[in-house]
Symmetry: C2
Subunit: 306 residues, 2 copies
């Protein structure tokens, strides 16, 4: 009988679940838009239904466990989310226990970026390493720290909130109460906000700002300056992380990755300047390889984590 696990990834715009075997082979995947505005009961129902569907198809006997990656600050032991921009109705609600009750099975609830880092370590860009840090560049910036092959969770489960590292002490205000958080200067949202401030267009996406940066004109120059500013903010945060952990590998993932050639040169220049450890060692800063699936793989790996 095939040993498999079910991973669920609750993203900003959609819900996905997959059955993945112990070698990392994806056996089956369910993906669909989830209407977050429909509220807690609808979203919870969709989550449980997706998992049940996979379990019915692949059999309860071979199921090693269920893991779920969700956005927001996590209380790991209690299994709930304490602060999430997308899912206000899940805040301080016993989402894990409720899932377990409906499924009649154990569920491991984890922060989505922590799950993504674990996925990259399992079968992605980090599979050769036991120690790595992942930054997920999206609406915000998530972080996941893997040490000795396992997620660093901290004493309540909030470790790895690397999007809230201060990179500009008097920078843009953040919903977390801080100013100059990394995610307010280097996320896709931050890049888009800078593009709007420079009047590069309306309703832009990070991809648009990347396309504009390829132009040999004034808007192109402005877009390149935006990516350089974003790269500088990332560089400050990465230098701090390299000086803190001295891990061999730091990974980046998310929507802005196609603009690598525009932001990475400045980012690397800043890391080199700001980190003696980076210059003195063979530290690698690279693209993650699992893309949007990292969180799904990582969630599925949670039952096998130790």
């Amino acid at each position: 009988m095939v040993q498999y696990s079910i991973g669920l990834d609750l993203g900003g715009t959609n819900l996905r679940a997959a059955a993945i075997d112990s070698t990392g082979k994806m056996l089956d995947k369910i993906a669909g838009a989830t209407n977050f505005v429909e509220g807690r009961e609808a979203v919870l129902g969709d989550m449980v239904a997706a998992i049940e569907k996979l379990r019915e198809k692949h059999g309860a006997e071979g199921l090693a466990g269920i893991g779920a990656g969700v956005p927001g600050f996590i209380r790991f032991k209690e299994g709930y989310i304490t602060n999430s921009n997308n899912l206000p109705y899940f805040e301080n609600y016993p989402v894990r226990d409720e899932m377990e009750k409906r499924l009649g099975a154990k569920v491991i609830l984890e922060n989505d970026a922590n799950a993504a880092a674990l996925g990259e370590k399992w079968i992605g860009a980090g599979r050769e390493h036991d120690d790595l840090v992942l930054l997920t560049l999206g609406t915000g910036i998530g972080g996941g720290i893997i040490y000795g092959g396992k997620i660093v969770r901290g004493f309540v489960g909030m470790a790895g909130e690397l999007g809230h590292i201060t990179v500009v002490p008097n920078g843009n205000p953040c919903g977390c109460g801080n100013r100059g958080c990394l995610e307010k200067h280097a996320s896709a949202t931050a890049v888009i906000a800078m593009a709007h401030m420079l009047h590069l267009g309306e309703n832009l996406t990070a991809k648009d700002v990347n396309d504009i940066a390829k132009q040999q004109d004034e808007p192109g120059e402005k877009a390149r300056a935006i990516w350089a500013a974003m790269g500088e903010a990332l560089g400050i945060a990465l230098a701090t992380l390299v000086n803190t952990f001295n891990f061999p590998l730091y990974l980046l993932s998310g929507g802005p990755l196609p603009a690598w050639d525009f932001f990475a040169p400045r980012m690397m220049e800043v890391v080199k300047q700001r980190s003696y450890t980076f210059r003195a060692t063979g530290t690698k800063i690279e693209k993650a390889t699992l893309g949007g699936e990292a969180g799904l793989y990582g969630a599925a790996y949670l039952p096998w984590e130790k």
Copy 2:
């Protein structure tokens, strides 16, 4: 027979060694000024002689091992120092192997702040916790990260260089190549430099700046502003560390600690503002309790670390 270990702490101005038993009781201590300008051979000779003296007195049979804490960036596996302000002649010199050769015994070489963090974890302010971060405020600022009861070393041994976290992107230049390193804004040296810039006196110490801060006059006001600036820099770094690790405990040690009442209020205010995790959890930021002996205890504990 008493099981004991020998710890050595090579500080900025003196060399100390101690025989400590497995319960953390200090059996014996040797302390003396070391004339760093006399060069490598003299310092190395003093280190070896101090250890030999303790071993002769307490017997080679009960000796569990020898640990040495030294300042600078460490190559742990190779056992040497790659970058140290105080000991240029030890850079890239096989100091551990040379000690082992002369002593005919194994020596564990560790960064002094890492050793101090381990000491605080063993029998100091961190003994109730397996996960903590220590910042040592001195000439520079050292850092030590304890996770699962053990030092986080990174892949070459340079983890925990927390004095080089960027807290002011365009701040004071640092010997490490960066600008705005924590240690250039919050070490004893930084406090003294600010006091000299404000003409509060000549050849001041951190203690002097603390004394001036107690005065109800204009110099007193200036000195308090210096401690507030120092506290703000510490707060930025601590918020980043809390957001990164979500550990239950962060400790501070070193010469500026008596000025706690002048720098800690601003420090705590900044941590509260900049860290959602701090506000949402029972994270503690406290004074270390072993003072200057932490590194000695931690060095002695190294042979028992796992």
